[in-house]
């Protein structure tokens, strides 16, 4: 056993508290955006926290959020694989499909809520295909950087950019096509 101060339970806990705990809010938001379900989101964050704790000694301390989002993505891919082994050809697509399925339930539920107050931007966002909406949610709603969004989704930064920019043009068209609200 090494006696170096950075190893062992104390160092491990200190690093966990320093790098991981401050990101809980972001992790939960991203997990919610991936799973579209509160209890699945919480499970996914818990899974991520366990993995992060085990890996914290090997973490170099740079970009903790990006590191955690990568762990979360791996955790999610594993969860999907456990549930639906036949769908594991393209993790990105699989995650999108999973989200679509849980989104259906959430959509049905939200349609029961008063549509009257739905903002045009909300409708424009909801109209986006899932893989575009996901990127918008991560970058514009949850304020992740391009790199962080890329890590969370397991796609290249260039793909994040092209999807995001296309999604925004799409949102703009949607807003321009819908009748103006009286204010």
């Amino acid at each position: 056993m090494s006696n170096a101060p950075s190893t062992g339970p104390v160092g491990q806990d200190a690093r966990f508290n320093e790098y991981v705990v401050p990101e809980l809010d972001v992790l939960y938001r991203v997990a919610y955006s991936i799973t579209r379900n509160k209890s699945d989101a919480e499970d996914l964050v818990q899974d991520t926290l366990l993995r992060a704790y085990r890996a914290i000694e090997r973490f170099d301390g740079r970009y903790p959020r990006a590191w955690l989002l990568t762990i979360m993505r791996n955790a999610q891919v594993n969860r999907v694989r456990r549930k639906r082994p036949e769908l594991m050809h393209d993790p990105d697509e699989t995650m999108a499909r999973m989200a679509d399925e849980s989104a259906e339930a959430a959509d049905a539920e939200s349609q029961l809520l008063d549509k009257e107050f739905e903002a045009p931007i909300e409708a424009a966002l909801a109209a986006l295909p899932e893989k575009f909406r996901r990127v918008v949610e991560l970058v514009d709603l949850n304020e992740l950087s391009y790199q962080e969004a890329a890590d969370a989704l397991g796609i290249p930064v260039g793909t994040v950019m092209s999807r995001l920019h296309r999604a925004r043009r799409n949102i703009r068209q949607h807003l321009e096509a819908s009748p103006l609200e009286e204010t």
Partner: protein, 83 residues
């Protein structure tokens, strides 16, 4: 002028990345200067800046109950690992 003005086309290509603050400082400054001087590009930037702002307002509010449980869970991981 010390630096030559970027073209509208160059600005259009980088506008989204500019709005996300993901360009290096030199480029950010070049685009800022162009947007101040060029009405068309300035209006275009305003449209997308508004969209970005409206989207940010759509973020789900923090779920304080879930966060409290996750904080507790974090503390428990360490306890169980050490005990």
């Amino acid at each position: 002028m010390a630096q030559k003005m970027m073209s509208c086309r160059d600005v259009a290509l980088r506008l989204q990345t500019y709005l996300d603050g993901e360009l290096d400082e030199t480029r950010m400054e070049q685009i800022r200067a162009h947007l101040d001087a060029c009405v068309d590009c300035g209006l275009e930037a305003d449209v997308f800046a508004d969209i970005k702002k409206d989207l940010a307002a759509q973020a789900i509010p923090a779920d304080s109950d879930a966060l409290a449980r996750l904080r507790e869970f974090s503390a428990r991981i360490a306890e169980e690992a050490n005990g």
